[in-house]
């Protein structure tokens, strides 16, 4: 298992992978600054948390959420497709266990999400230093900004984002295993996230039980559900998803091998 973890990590943790996510966070922060008269409201921590307040406005904030989500999905889609199409039989023969290969990849993906999201949060902190403005009247408009500490907001948001991003990314991989097409799989996840978000707006009481939306801080804070709810539903969803992925992978394994390497059978 350790050798396989190292194998996946060596390929995943490439300069491009480590840079693209923080760059997208920077893009998101700059977008928010530009629509808020050049400032991020609140002290350093609140200002840093502010660009992650998604989605207050569905039309504008949902695409912003997708901009954050897409690099994670793009990186993992490319990885899974390359591995399955080109290197799978080589690694499988050496690892000796297909499920070990899958589960070690899942562990590395979650680790990658944690590391790159942390880097993204540092970008937000930097944006908070540059653009934070305690005098901004926006602070008064968001009760959660006056009621909660900025550090608590950031920590809560970090864990919730990791969970909902992990669920989206693993769901994307599950659809790749089913459909065999990365683009279609990503499109399906985008549709699911959109449906989940619209459902959250229509039926607010079920928001804590919509793990795909957990990372959307505004929904959580505006509806005032405790962090623990989101963490529990997120962890349960993640565990179910991993179990389903194991089943599907085992069931589709031969098809994957034939589909990818079956030229000249």
């Amino acid at each position: 298992m350790i050798n396989l973890l190292r194998y996946h990590m060596k390929i995943f943790f490439a300069p491009f992978t480590l840079l693209i996510v923080p760059l997208v966070y920077a893009l998101n922060a700059l977008t928010v600054v530009s629509i808020n008269q050049g400032v991020l409201p609140g002290d350093l921590w609140h200002a840093a948390a502010f660009p992650l307040y998604i989605p207050i406005n569905l039309k504008f904030d949902l695409p912003r959420w997708f901009i954050i989500l897409l690099p994670y999905m793009m990186i993992t889609t490319l990885y899974v497709q390359n591995e399955l199409h080109h290197r799978f039989s080589l690694t499988l023969i050496r690892s000796g266990n297909a499920l070990l290969w899958l589960n070690s990849m899942i562990v590395v993906i979650i680790k990658l999400i944690m590391v790159t999201t942390l880097a993204g949060f540092f970008v937000n902190l930097f944006a908070g230093v540059l653009f934070g403005d305690t005098q901004s009247n926006m602070v008064q408009l968001l009760p959660v900004f006056t009621d909660s500490s900025g550090i608590r907001l950031m920590i809560g948001e970090y864990f919730m984002m990791i969970l909902s991003i992990s669920i989206s990314v693993l769901l994307n991989i599950l659809f790749i295993l089913f459909i065999g097409h990365g683009g279609l799989a990503t499109l399906t996840v985008i549709i699911l996230v959109s449906v989940s978000t619209v459902t959250a707006f229509l039926i607010p009481p079920i928001i804590p039980w919509l793990p795909l939306n957990s990372g959307m801080a505004a929904l959580k804070e505006m509806n005032n559900f405790p962090l623990a709810y989101g963490l529990i539903s997120g962890c349960v969803a993640l565990a179910i998803l991993v179990a389903v992925m194991n089943l599907v992978f085992k069931y589709k394994l031969e098809q994957i091998l034939i589909g990818n390497q079956g030229r000249g059978l």
């Binding site: 390359n82 199409h85 080109h86 039989s89 023969i93 050496r94 085992k250 031969e254 390497q261 000249g264």
Partner: protein, 213 residues
């Protein structure tokens, strides 16, 4: 027994690709499998590798059942032209693959790269390699862990004349070291020069085509 296939049938999409194959290899040597495209050679090799599961029958390699997620030990294989990490050099790609098993050292990997006619210190990424160079690297990954059973499915694909000569030399060296090599090739000369015994794969059935041993 090195390889033992008992009554192996493989159905795919309603077609019998392997049809009741009984095949054993008891002594090391080079065993060739010839047959037309689509005759089932690759399926046969992948079934021995544990990558495909027989519909009926079972496969044992070195006395252990393979398939259903278990793979032969002491085994190396080349199927088609394998894909490598495009941004990595040849050495880095092989080091990465070798890290999964962790049984070979860098010096041995360097040696294997030289054996197949590539340069271990060539830092060019593999994406800049020609098809023939990728094929050489594919052979290097198959042999680098010094397997006791080596399965090579069309190893000469994309190789120039010097590449073909080098691969023939590699196969003969492995044979002299007591490795069992299973070789599928369209090239009659390869089969004649290298194989101790040749089988013909036809309509999912395997029969002895030429026996020299």
């Amino acid at each position: 027994m090195i390889v033992e296939m008992v009554n192996v049938t493989k159905d795919m999409k309603g077609h019998k690709i392997l049809n009741g194959i009984n095949f054993t290899i008891e002594t090391p040597g080079v065993y060739g499998v010839v047959g037309r495209n689509g005759s089932g050679k690759s399926v046969l090799f992948k079934t021995i590798a544990g990558l495909l599961q027989p519909t009926i029958g079972n496969v044992k390699v070195f006395g252990e059942l393979v398939g259903k997620g278990s793979f032969p030990k002491d085994f190396g294989a080349l199927f088609d032209t394998p894909g490598f990490v495009p941004r990595y050099s040849a050495l880095d790609n092989l080091k990465l693959l070798a890290s999964i098993k962790g049984v070979v050292k860098e010096e041995e990997i360097r040696e294997v790269i030289k054996v197949v006619g590539l340069e271990p210190d060539d830092r060019r990424p593999v994406r800049k390699y020609s098809l023939g160079m990728k094929q050489r690297l594919g052979i290097a990954q198959a042999i680098m862990e010094h397997p006791k059973l080596l399965v090579l499915d069309e190893p000469m694909n994309g190789l120039d004349e010097s590449g073909v000569q080098e691969v023939r030399k590699v196969i003969n060296e492995f044979k002299s070291e007591g490795t069992t090599v299973l070789l599928a090739s369209h090239n009659r000369e390869d089969i004649e020069l290298l194989c101790d015994q040749v089988y013909l794969m036809e309509q999912g059935e395997l029969r002895v085509f030429r026996e020299d041993v």
